[in-house]
Assembly symmetry: C2
Homo-oligomer: 504 residues x 2
Amino acid sequence: MPTATPYQQLEQEFRRLHAFRGVLALLRWDAAVTMPRASADVRGDQLAALEIESHTLLVSPRISRLLDRADANARSLAGWQAANLREMRRLHDHAIATPQSLIARMAKAFVRSEARWREAREANEFNVLAPQLEETVKLVRSKAELLGQRFSLDPWDALADEFTPGLLSRDIEAIFTPLGQRLPGLVTEAIEIQAAAPALPIEGRFSASRQRGLATDVMKALGFPFDRGRFDESDHPFTEGVPGDIRVSTRFVQKDPFRGLLGALHETGQALYDLGLPAEWVDQPVGQDRGMALEESQSLLLEMMAGRSRAFVTFLRPLLEKHYGAAGPEWSEENLYRHLNRVARGTSRTDADELTYQTHIWMRYELERRLLSGELAVRELRDAWIALSADRLGLVPANDVEGCLQDIHWAIGSFGHFPSYGVGAVIAGQLWETIREQQPGIDAEIASGQFGGLLGWLRERVHAMGASLGVPQLVQHATGRTLSAAPFLRYLERKYLAEPGTPG
Amino acid sequence: MPTATPYQQLEQEFRRLHAFRGVLALLRWDAAVTMPRASADVRGDQLAALEIESHTLLVSPRISRLLDRADANARSLAGWQAANLREMRRLHDHAIATPQSLIARMAKAFVRSEARWREAREANEFNVLAPQLEETVKLVRSKAELLGQRFSLDPWDALADEFTPGLLSRDIEAIFTPLGQRLPGLVTEAIEIQAAAPALPIEGRFSASRQRGLATDVMKALGFPFDRGRFDESDHPFTEGVPGDIRVSTRFVQKDPFRGLLGALHETGQALYDLGLPAEWVDQPVGQDRGMALEESQSLLLEMMAGRSRAFVTFLRPLLEKHYGAAGPEWSEENLYRHLNRVARGTSRTDADELTYQTHIWMRYELERRLLSGELAVRELRDAWIALSADRLGLVPANDVEGCLQDIHWAIGSFGHFPSYGVGAVIAGQLWETIREQQPGIDAEIASGQFGGLLGWLRERVHAMGASLGVPQLVQHATGRTLSAAPFLRYLERKYLAEPGTPG
């Protein structure tokens, strides 16, 4: 048997790391869905042990040597292998910049602050979380500074690179400047237009089991593989797992017939992305998704663009009759469309329409940069949140659960993540525009519950590329155009400035 | 800071191994309770990766060196530390006898044959499982032969040592010879006595949710910590996890009001053992349970002895009224006692009374020795099972689910395990006799739902010893007497030969 090349040995090592990633995913899924409440300390030890093990493997002198030897022979590698080697190098260089002791402390602290976040939400009191969040922010700041020094980046940029590989904050801000100029006016115009044609209210109590039944039917139509995946309820919608065992969860709110469904659509978008990643590279770095901004684009394309289109409402209408016994004028297609696309300034990010959503993102962007730099103390976060809400949204949250406790991200140590939601929307807008140009029958397909055309396009142009390209290159490859906010803005204007009743 | 001693370094390494054990426990729990059906291949890769990692750590040259150096300085260690070092050595020497490649192949094969076992049960067809079981048996045989060579043991004994440390098959057979001589006659006598005072049938449909409610109340009275543990439903009752996150599951059968409860009692006995292990050694080898026979003793003491006593029936009666609306003569304490302690020859091991149970165990003991030695081919297992059932029980199973598909053990590669159930019953008999001598008020306590006296005794005498003693030494320590079947036999005779209606 010939000796394995350095590159082949690297593939073998990263196969082990992939298995550990899957195990870590299950540990997190269980912590959010099935773990007993008081077991967070035990889980923290387990996560820490496995994170350290993964980290030790990734930064080992053996991997460093193999990378150097493989780099020296990179000319002999085929395209995907070369891209895989680049991703291996990226992961290795990032990991080696964070010491093991810090990783272990972060893992334990994040589990504790996540548990405290849940308690704080139950008590509706930010101060229950604050002391633990302070510890978490301190640790994240240490990591950001180390990464920043290593890669000569601003600390926040160093964290954000994990979520939007290939995009720096100056690129992100350049993309968003036109949005920031146009959106405030567009929000006002949309609200005025919609006020002239208001949606009838949809009232009632919709049990979790009915909402689950509806979402399950929709997920089946989208091709979610229930024999190799799960659909559960948790405090915050999320997707976790690996292709072959992918787990989606959503949150049901009894008086809102669509909240659980839209959360499920959002997460199913990400799950279908994971499932469409190149099968032959599933256990290698190049076979992974291209970061959170891309994941978010797949979620928003499904939840916001396809999932709230007139065509989708046509598909949905009989399912609402089946699961909710929907009857009456408030359940007409026109009213459902208005209901699902209503624009309103509100305090909740996850409930926000796609116009005001961007305001929430930039609010969090500002706050987390100030928290990270130390300019804002954790104990002042609630006041800062309230002040910024008042300024940007013209609203003050009624309490902590509706304000600074609404997101799980900071509690689990996730900083640099929020802007990827905004970038994700911009990417989704550009993909959606291209799909609609290239597949003129797409509306008729969606209306009849056929999602093969939409998903086939995404699978071929986006999912199948894995992590072989950077974010801007991937968008260029998929759409043939440079990444820009213009298509997203065109989509928003066409949709929200249209006369009521016109096809959207 | 002074350098850590070799022993202290070992403690640190075994702390990591403990975290991995907890993770492996969760992976298995999830596979049985929550994992999507078709994800067994993904889970197999994950289990294999983590088993290999644990194994690599345990057999590493570093651990070998540290063990040698710590052994050389063993005189400086306190009693528990010395016992911990002995257990570390035992685990290391066992692990090093099995090559990594075999461990990885076993982990994958066992997950596949467990999934196939579930499918075979659904199809009620042993041949669905047979090909995969053949692979599993082949791999287990390789392991047994390697271990046997290394420790100069019979291959089966080498496997069984994991379940009953310190007891060889000749000891086990010596303990059971008096049982084998007495039990057949005792079964016949008990059946005759009970025929003269039959139990009224208890009929009806008892939903899983009512049975769950009943079992939950009983587990609460026993002190099961629901904030640091779970109680679920699965195909086969089991306990999984670590102290701090311990998970019990049971199986509900709609027409049997007690099946789910008794399964839960059985598993709760094991869970309470785990929870009573010495807290300061929780992440070290000496802080673990003393093998399956001891675990089983804790399960059977609760399920069979305390849990079917007249005192327990008195405690249970109002809960049956609460959850089942129990009323009428069939729910009287006398009838419930008769119902719960009925002796009948049957084809199911888990449903068997404590008298005929031993026959099931010895039947499996014979079959698994023949499977392991190759004398019996897997494809002949069904026929051999039927023949042995007819000979020993005078019964032929109606189908595969009630016959050779009833146990999960062989499908998950567990050979050498069954006799530990029998030894567990014998140990439980000896513990129960001692408790009743030393705590004369125990019946009154149990009748009023007070389990503190019983559990306090077990915690102090058994649980708190961890793995610091071998099985025979631990029984000697707890009861002051040599391990023997005599107390178990006295218990059985007193109970089953008593006139109906006398206190049992």
